[in-house]
Symmetry: C2
Subunit: 390 residues, 2 copies
């Protein structure tokens, strides 16, 4: 640095004149701060890739689970719809971001869709998925674990059935997507072992994670981006990357995956204790008709879901909330509409809109004491409300 | 609370059993924490609405500027494409998230598009916009301020021309969108006075803002959401809202808008000083051919953009970076591809890919000292590099 500049400028002082790119450094900028930001981003990408046993370039960061699911499904359909309308398959208990995307694509005549019904235990039969595959099928999307009833789907077995079909029919362009948003804390995410081509994750469901999403997309899967714009995320997701949130997400996912065995053991004990203590015997007809939803074995360690006849979900949630217990009736995305959840209806065709369901989803801070208090409170609420209905 | 529960449970202790909705409270949950989160969200929405002189329900929160622009353009086209292919108009210097969206819609035969060329000063003639309006035109999209050369477009005048056309032709379904991402810090955002139906903002460009975007959408504008899923953001933007970031955004936008007059004055002086001191006279042929891009009056107070013949942009950015000065060559979204920016080409058809451009965008921390050092460094770099080219 010349002498005259030394006077003007302290050594190591940095002058940021790139506010129009972003007030904090933009990972696409070519200057030193841009390069450093890009390194942080790519380091986070590598760490997420390593948890998924995938390649860094197969990781696309998005704004959340809804975007990841939309990108996977819309992206594969748009990339595959050159000649004829493609066919896509899912189940009837998917998250709204999958199910509604299917319905919108059908309505716009961009795809034919098949919804495979799950069994009464909330688990889909892989053979029924295979049965639905047709000549023009290009995508199967089945969630890893259900957000309402916590049932874990046989992803490996479904992948196997799809592989068999592809082998028998000499096809290679049928792709398998799983919405793994509820699986990030508790289940293995090795995409090779799962046999999936696309997998969605969300920071919203992982403690201390940044509010971002991930779409794993195997290298060979043709995908169109939903957004048009810059070249970020290899062009699959234009828009300035939320690098700080992405780094937080990588940290949190690493932590959750390391803790998952121990935490799964702990929560499984609490969950089963919760289910055992449910006040069925003390509630007469109400207790008799109380249903525990979803398979008791193949389910997330943190999920308890019950249906209580003739008492509306929203009322139950509000009564619990008044006692300091924060549970939910169904997917938050669809709460408050007064209708029975599509998931509960799928496993129990007899359920009516006036039958309430409750989802208790446990987490890092949950203790046995919490469960005891919740059970007692639930018994009191049901005794009180039950009287009106008996 | 009954005595037996008091033993189990400390008063005021809260039990969170809604981890599946979100590890931090979800604004769609019905329980107390959900309601509180929803209140925070709606408070932020009201504050943003008040800055825009709009109604709270006209504010849609998104993941950023790219999504807001895509939602505005794709959303209006998808909602309007029932009978015939709609026609949409923009300029040739828009941000890639607008321009590429136009091109993708044209490629997919979802829209006919017209790109109106700006004048040599980087400003579009409102009469030329009006001239392009046809029977099937449903949308005009013109950015408020350009991200590369900082020119401010005559938004009010364009709105007026569109209004005249609508009156003359008894039409009411032509909507006017402006990408105001670069305007958030310095320009008035009163949508009534601007006369726009849709307006995009981004937190990335506002100091201390959360990484979210906003799309203002006037109540009467028909819009389809890009994502399918839950009912968040009145159904226009499904997905769990990033409430903490949204609150930060509202705070930062309020602050920026309050500070804008004072900051505009301060930066205008710095910008004009920068332009005056550009080392044109000392650089021989190079200095003679150095061009200041864009109108000098109708431009953002923080933008200086120059073209330097025969020295590649990326080299200039890296040389400056080595001296601790972080500037950029063009939009970060398109940086590093070695091509002349579409904006510079639009105002200067003679520009070649090997002619470098530099954008200096000033901000809150920029001082006169920074400008002096930058000018001296630029002179040194240009003298050094200029020798190789003369």
């Amino acid at each position: 640095m010349p002498k005259s500049n030394k006077k003007l400028h302290k050594t190591n002082q940095k002058i940021y004149l790139d506010y129009a790119s972003s007030v904090s450094p933009n990972a696409s900028s070519l200057h030193e701060l841009g390069v450093k930001t890009r390194q942080k981003l790519e380091n986070a990408r590598s760490r997420v890739a390593s948890i998924l046993y995938s390649r860094p370039l197969e990781i696309i960061f998005t704004s959340g689970g809804t975007e990841s699911n939309n990108l996977a499904i819309q992206g594969v359909v748009l990339a595959g719809s050159k000649r004829k309308i493609p066919h896509i398959i899912t189940t009837n208990i998917e998250h709204p971001s999958v199910l509604e995307t299917f319905k919108v694509l059908a309505k716009r005549k961009l795809a034919q869709i098949s919804l495979v019904g799950v069994e009464a235990n909330g688990i889909v039969d892989p053979k029924k998925i295979k049965k639905e595959i047709k000549k023009n099928t290009i995508l199967v999307s089945v969630m890893y674990a259900n957000n309402e009833i916590g049932t874990i789907q046989p992803i490996k077995e479904i992948a196997k059935e799809i592989r068999h079909y592809k082998k028998q029919h000499r096809r290679n362009n049928i792709f398998f997507h799983t919405d793994a948003v509820q699986a990030g804390n508790y289940l293995p995410l090795n995409v090779e072992q799962l046999g999936v081509d696309l997998l969605s994750l969300s920071g919203s469901k992982i403690l201390n994670a940044g509010r971002v999403g991930v779409l794993f997309k195997k290298k060979n899967v043709p995908l169109f981006s939903i957004f048009a714009g810059g070249n970020q995320e290899t062009g699959f997701r234009p828009g300035t990357e939320n690098v700080d949130a992405i780094v937080k997400f990588a940290d949190a996912l690493e932590f959750a995956q390391k803790a998952k065995e121990k935490e799964t053991k702990r929560l499984t004990i609490l969950r089963d204790y919760f289910i055992k203590k449910l006040p069925r015997g003390t509630l007469g007809k109400l207790g008799k008709n109380l249903v525990i939803n979803g398979d008791l074995k193949n389910r997330l360690p943190n999920n308890v879901n019950i249906t209580i006849p003739k008492i509306p979900s929203d009322l139950l949630v509000i009564e619990l909330s008044a006692r300091g217990i924060y549970a939910s009736s169904k997917s938050a995305c669809k709460s408050g509409d007064g209708k029975a959840s599509h998931v509960i209806r799928a496993i129990n065709p007899k359920v009516k809109d006036e039958d309430g369901s409750l989802r208790f989803s446990l987490g890092r801070a949950t203790t046995k004491n919490d469960i005891d208090y919740t059970i007692k409170s639930l018994a009191l609420i049901l005794s009180k409300l039950g009287k009106w209905y008996n």
